[in-house]
Amino acid sequence: MNDLTELFNKLFVNFNYIVAATLFVIGLYTVIAKSNLIKKFMGLNIIETSVFLFIVSSGAIVGGKAPIIGEGVSSKTAFVNPIPQALILTGIVVAMSTTAVALSLMIKLYEQCGTLNADKLKELK
């Protein structure tokens, strides 16, 4: 029984990781199972978001301050790690560019083939 409470405690403390993992799996399912290419790509975006959530939340501290030394913040007080946030800012830019490229590809695909359904596109080939 004690083990179980401990497990639940651990799960509760790390619930941000659980949310990230769930989102990752939802995204992966969408990429694999959906036949519409736009939906497939939205699944990819969900995967990316889950990774971003994982990274950002790993740098966060409850009640942490911005890491700028000034009033009320010294090197001794708890502050949020800024590096994951900087990384994810870059990551979001990259994800946005990937989305832009993918959507323009899909416009081209639709103009050329008249459908965005993966199964129908396979038949066209």
């Binding site: 995967i47 590096i83 994951p84 990384l87 490229v101």
Partner: protein, 510 residues
């Protein structure tokens, strides 16, 4: 000169990326000027790269701190022996750009020229940056720069299936990039740093936790997709065969090698042989996958009629050879992996030269005849003797016939498998080599010895701007084979440092 060469690794990356970004602006009034601009930028990058390589071989690896911040706090650019592949990248970049001058107007309209050259320079910049960075997150960023330019380059023509091939590559590529990012994040969470050398140091302290193993597996998955290892190779044939030929040369010659460089960096620079994490179970598994990859690639290539499709499948097969070479490592006795590592690294170089020759020759044939099937191209050898002659040299090279480039690396890899005590791998590799030989004989036979196709009687030799790059590359194929000690001498320190041996290491009798 010494002071200047210190800055070269970062200068060549910046030159290519900024040069690429400026291409549409400088060619705003005359679209054709974009060629000369791209040519100039790639020459400049090649010059910087030569300086950096010169310094590497006279004074050892270059560690450059961006804006003077000392690593691990700042970003480090680290030019070591593996980074010599940038020399190949910039040199091939120049040849591909020269080749594109005439060829690319066959595939795209003049309006799109600046876009095309921008993307070529960006893909080169991404690859160069990827190979010289010493920072895990930059690895991810450069991976995305080169992948995004790659997707766009495949879809740049108006052909019907290109967008589909590009989209397939994009989905696979995005999943692989995300898994690399997740790996970086896990390593950062464990060690609290992003600098590769620093991660290697701190891993000693933290030991092999589960997160470290998971990160390793994520890296391997991510880079396997980029390198087109067997179960995740399905995107490659369409993407490489349908892209415009110079782009195919870049993708097949260099971009798939990025996966290999990434694996080398992660396995042998971050995790390190003899380090806290014993990853030989992973590399053993990779060895088996590589053996399957060699056979699968060679097998499917055999049934293709489209000449570029054959080359694309053959790329899969050759990636198998390279991965086999670099995965034959023993955790406690690094010397045992030496031969395989040598072979794998030399094959990275040789395959890049050979495969780009093949794709550029195929491009010349397609440019002149408009056909891409072997059955339509039959008998073309008499009309285009230079192109087909070069294609024959490259085909013999990739089949591994002795005086050409392909022989020495396959020889080393097979010796490596026997030295490592895995003769079954040698059998797979030899079987693959025989299949490769069979289908390249098929190509040579179709080009020279079959009855000419009536509809191609009017064809003459390809223009000079296309012949010069392929002849230079063919000379490269021969030189790398006949003077095989040259590439071996260049690669030797890289192989030794990857295995954690001193860079001057020589095996007994070697």
């Amino acid at each position: 000169m010494i002071e200047f060469s210190q800055h070269c690794p970062v200068l060549m990356t910046i030159t290519l990326i900024i040069g690429g970004a400026l291409t549409p602006i400088v060619s705003i009034s005359r679209k054709k000027f974009s060629f000369w601009w791209a040519f100039f930028v790639s020459l400049l990058a090649f010059f910087f790269c030569s300086c950096a390589v010169w310094r590497l071989y006279t004074m050892g690896p270059i560690s450059y701190w961006l804006s003077g911040w000392e690593p691990p706090y700042g970003i480090e650019v680290y030019f070591d022996y593996v980074s010599t592949i940038t020399f190949l990248m910039t040199a091939l970049g120049i040849l591909v750009i020269v080749y594109s001058k005439r060829y690319i107007l066959h595939d795209i309209s003049e309006e799109k020229l600046p876009t095309y050259y921008t993307l070529v320079l960006l893909i080169l910049g991404g690859m160069v940056g990827f190979s010289v960075t010493g920072d895990m997150f930059n690895l991810y960023v450069f991976l995305e720069i080169l992948s995004l330019s790659g997707y766009a380059l495949i879809a740049i023509t108006e052909e019907k299936l290109n967008a589909m091939a590009s989209f397939k590559y994009l989905v696979m590529g995005s999943v692989s990039s995300v898994s690399v990012l997740l790996g970086v994040a896990l390593l950062y969470n464990v060690t609290g740093t992003l600098n590769m050398a620093d991660i290697a140091l701190r891993l000693q302290q933290f030991g092999p936790t589960t997160a470290v193993y998971v990160a390793l597996v994520l890296f391997i998955i991510g880079f396997s997709v980029k390198a087109a290892l067997f179960p995740v190779h399905a995107w490659l044939p369409d993407a490489h065969a349908l892209a415009p030929s110079p782009v195919s040369a870049l993708l097949s010659g260099l971009v798939i090698k990025i996966g290999i460089v990434g694996m080398l960096r992660v396995l042998y620079c971050v995790y390190k042989l003899g380090g806290p994490v014993d990853f030989t179970s992973v590399t053993n598994f990779m060895g088996w996958l590589a053996a399957v990859t060699v056979l699968v690639g060679a097998f499917f290539a055999f049934f293709q009629d489209d000449i570029k499709m054959i080359f694309a499948y053959s790329s899969i097969s050759n990636i198998g050879y390279i991965l086999m070479g670099i995965s034959l490592v023993s955790f406690t006795q690094p010397e045992r992996g030496y031969l395989g590592m040598m072979g794998g690294l030399v094959h990275v170089f040789n395959h890049a030269i050979i495969k780009s020759t093949l794709f550029l020759c195929a491009g010349a044939l397609i440019y002149k005849t408009g056909f891409r099937k072997l059955s339509d191209l039959r008998g073309i050898g008499k009309k285009m003797p230079i192109t087909c002659g070069v294609l024959t040299i490259a085909a013999l090279s990739i089949a591994g016939i002795p005086p050409t480039a392909g022989f020495i690396c396959k020889w080393y890899i097979i010796l490596g498998t026997i030295e490592f005590g895995k003769p079954i791998f040698a059998v797979a590799l030899l079987l693959g080599a025989m299949l490769v030989f069979a289908y390249y004989i098929k190509i040579i036979n179709a080009l020279f010895f079959r009855e000419p196709n009536e509809s191609i009687t009017e064809v003459d030799e390809a223009p000079l701007s296309m012949l010069v790059p392929i002849i230079i590359l063919a000379i490269g194929c021969l030189v790398m084979g006949i003077f095989a000690y040259l590439p071996l001498a260049v690669i030797r320190p890289a192989a030794a440092t990857m295995l954690g041996l001193p860079s001057t290491y020589l095996p007994l009798g070697g």
